[in-house]
Amino acid sequence: MSVISLVSYEDALASYDPVMGLEVHVELGTKTKMFCGCSTELGAEPNSQTCPTCLGLPGSLPVVNAVGVESAIKIGLALNCEIAEWCRFARKNYFYPDMPKNFQTSQYDEPIAFNGYLDVQLEDGSTFRVEIERAHMEEDTGKSSHVGGATGRIHGATHSLLDYNRAGIPLIEIVTKPIEGAGERAPEVAKAYVAELRELIRALGVSEARMDKGQMRCDVNLSLRPNGTSTFGTRSETKNVNSLRSVERAARFEIQRHATVLTDGGTIVQETRHFHEDNGTTTAGRIKDNAEDYRYFPEPDLVPIAPARTWVEELRAELPELPRVRRARLQAEWALSDKDMQSVLNAGAVELLEQTIAAGAPADQARKWWLGELARRANETGTELAEQPITPAQVARVCALVAEGKLNDKLARQVIEGVLAGEGEPDAVVEQRGLAVVSDDSALGAAVDQAIADNPDIAAKIRDGKVQAIGALVGAVMKTTRGQADAARVKDLLLAKLS
């Protein structure tokens, strides 16, 4: 299907109502794997973090990682879920070379956490409640690389190479109930949900949840139904959508694609699809010759998990301040209006601001730099704000230099530019570029005299009491000092000479 033939997003929404289901896999940041004592450290040599258990060698057995269970309970509690009194692991049976036992140890009808919700904030400041079906524990697969085909893709490869270092790393799979009623905002809800979940996971300290490192992966299930009807349509399952932006784009594309198919009188097939970052489209996965039948049954090598209520309550009491609560607190502390706070949120700058303020910057200054100069640059380069090569501490130092009168805004911008260009710490940039504000009266005196001499008319007006005309003279002084003068001091000096 070519992109051109798609019905427009607006037309799609005019006829259909999207229903979404989001499945997010989070790799936990435990020291060891879910069922064995192998390290989970990233970047190790291939197959150097494997043992009989995570290689699925004959005879090996799993033992549950207590911190894996604890993390699952924390996530469940933070998502307002009920925590099972008693639950089990199950085997999900299917063959795939990246899965050493050819079954995944997962949970089936008895997840550790179920029936919760997560309130997410949309860009207009409104709140949307996403209902959580379940959060369950499972294990990751190994990593395959494909050799001999184009660009390392599986298609056309002559063979594949497998590294099982990742096999067995704990995963928590979080599944929403069908998300209905979001209408045209469905893609935005999807993105906001994943963003909120990511913040929550980080706040809990159970994972870094870096999507770019595969620590958090999202499957977007989507179906459409004609407006005003209530039966779900057939859904597509777009797998492994690995950035916030992609989540939004994938949902949006699928809405248009479904609408196109349905409008043409076609039918949607339930299938796995893959999202392509480069052009924002999805394509169908391989059609399987026999319908999947995972033959789940209780994992006989593990015994049930029955989290003691005292343990669950202890974990509940230890939950850190959750992102929503924290955001409300910060807004009050920073004395930001709802609108200003929302702009901070939309820019994904809460953490950056918090750290900049913690490093000594006033809230309004921190916000000004991050949402102004730096956000503009992020936008221009198509990068995330947090990825800019400047730290909150460096921004705070720039703010301090301004407050001390050593820089003015124009110079501060140049300092930031220098830091971003890799010229070092702000003080070093100031030094190397010779950017210090000139407030030394003797150095300014000549420039002030020159300005008065060059503009006799304006000088006369000021002498006559029209003080508001002074801006032009200040500007002239700034021009001759190439912006490095302290404007306030220049004004004082001019007034002294002309009074």
């Binding site: 005879g59 033992v63 049976n93 063959f95 079954f103 033959r295 049954f297």
Partner: protein, 497 residues
């Protein structure tokens, strides 16, 4: 020194500890015996001559230094080829694992080594422990030393035959539906299925995880007890391992006093399909128990009639999943990888070529029982039967200390007789399966020869979970009384090889 091979494990250990004989001499005597008879018996798939002698030398060196030796130090043992052994091939009797050398020891293997036990080699078995005759081994059948044309039982026929052929005084088996007890019964040796969870399964290549249990095989009850204590105990690498003290089975084996014990005969283990001579020896055993001062009563366990069907759903279901890992990707056989075939096809071709018929049958049966639409009727119902069987046991044990039955309905049948009749084969485990489903402890010990064929008959004793000591108390007393009556151990009546 041919006598050395006729020593019990207890006698061997004592002789080594006292310096009467060296561990190396004992090991060599057994290696020589294997050399002499195993071509006929085919009990061993792999003999580790170097490893055995090195282990024996280590025991002798320890003794020379005056260090204390464990109760089984220097005693040779035949290990069922279903436990992993680092650096030593482990095949589970399957072509799919031919040539695989595990990079790790099973917990049981490690415990045996720590105890100074001398592992002679790995014994033959039905492929992946699926069978009751050892005919399903990819490496040829094992003969029953009583009559080499007959089966030695299974799946652990190699271990039982090694004992009966005096190739080793101790052996290890695994019992999923009777694979220790039934071979013990038909070879005139002692086999114990300990309480589920008392012997670690880490390194035991899984057939049916919720049923599999490793255990001791020996020629005497005391030897089995010594081995039981060496291998049992909590293992943090096995989540289903019981974290509690092992019952004092050696002390129980030495008691030889069962006065006042209450013993129940399971009514359901009799009738059609039970060989007359087997029932005759069983009834004589009941009389003997009464003579020894036990009170014998009849009990009924009505759900036991559903045990076999439940077992043949649960075990294949778990097996279908456990055996999925044999896919030609990481270890073992790989067939058909000619550069054009997909991994998927190579897996299917390898499994087709590498698994035998019985394994394939059970994989398909298990896949069927777990598949959507059938799960509740089959797997789900079988799990309910399991509950009913446990309840029957609980009710019975409320009134008696142990239960008894014949171990197996018939004596050893000829090799080939039931090979293509799975249902007939499955009947061999009729009396042993309920204990696997309930997870309790059971023993088989010789109680005589069936008059019609002069082949050994086994008496099964069943005790509640974690009361394994009762098996040894009753077994030790019965064995002593029978040996007194016969004037010698039963095995001495076996024809010379």
């Amino acid at each position: 020194m041919t006598d050395l091979i006729r020593y019990t494990a207890a006698e061997t250990a004592t002789a080594i500890a006292s310096g009467t004989v060296s561990a190396v001499e004992v090991a060599q005597a057994h290696l020589d015996r294997i050399d002499a008879v195993d071509k006929k018996v085919n009990a061993f798939l792999h003999v580790d001559t170097e490893g055995a002698l090195a282990a024996a030398r280590a025991v002798d060196a320890k003794r020379a230094k005056g260090e204390e030796l464990g109760p089984l130090a220097g005693v040779p043992l035949a290990l069922k080829d279903v436990f992993t052994t680092e650096g030593i091939p482990t095949t589970c009797g399957s072509k799919i694992l031919e040539g695989w050398i595990p990079p790790y020891d099973a917990t049981l293997t490690a415990r045996l080594k720590d105890a100074g036990v001398v592992i002679l080699g790995k014994t033959n078995m039905d492929e992946f422990a699926m069978g009751s005759s050892t005919e399903n081994s990819a490496f040829g059948p094992t003969g029953n030393p009583w009559d080499l044309s007959r089966i030695p039982g299974g799946s652990g026929g190699g271990s039982a035959a090694a004992l009966a052929a005096y190739e080793a005084p101790l052996a290890i088996g695994t019992d999923t539906g009777g694979s220790i007890r039934q071979p013990g019964a038909v070879t005139g040796t002692v086999g114990v299925k300990p309480t589920y969870g008392s012997v670690s399964r880490y390194g035991l290549v899984a057939f049916s995880s919720s049923l599999d249990q490793g255990g001791p095989c020996a020629r005497t009850v005391l030897d089995a007890a010594l081995l039981h204590e060496a291998i049992a105990g909590h293992d943090p690498l096995d989540s289903t391992s019981i974290d509690a003290p092992v019952p004092a089975v050696v002390a129980a084996a030495k008691m030889r006093d069962i006065r006042g014990m209450r013993i129940g005969i399971v009514k359901e283990f009799a009738g059609e399909g039970y060989q007359a001579g087997v029932m005759q020896r069983f009834h004589e055993s009941v009389e003997l128990l009464r003579e020894l001062g036990a009170e014998v009563v009849e009990v009924s366990c009505p759900s036991f009639t559903l045990a076999l069907p439940a077992y043949y759903l649960i075990a294949p279901s778990e097996a279908s999943s456990n055996l999925a890992r044999f896919d030609a990707m990481r270890y073992g056989l790989r067939v058909g990888d000619d550069g054009t075939r997909s991994a998927e096809d190579v897996t299917a071709l390898t499994r087709e070529a590498g698994f035998g018929d019985e394994v394939k049958r059970r994989i398909i049966l298990g896949t069927y029982a777990l598949s959507s639409g059938y799960y509740d009727a089959y797997y789900g119902s079988a799990q309910k039967v399991r509950t009913l069987i446990s309840r029957d046991f609980d009710a019975a044990f409320a009134g008696v200390d142990v239960l008894i039955s014949p171990t197996t309905p018939t004596t050893a049948f000829p090799i080939g007789e039931r090979a293509d009749d799975p249902m007939a084969m499955y009947l061999a485990d009729l009396c042993t399966i309920p204990s696997n489903l309930a997870g309790n402890a059971a023993m088989s010990l010789p109680c005589g020869l069936a008059p019609e064929d002069n082949l050994p008959v086994g008496l099964q004793i069943i005790a509640p979970a974690m009361a394994d000591d009762r098996l040894y108390r009753v077994g030790g007393a019965v064995e002593a009384a029978l040996n007194d009556k016969w004037g010698h151990p039963l095995l001495e009546e076996a024809p010379a090889l």
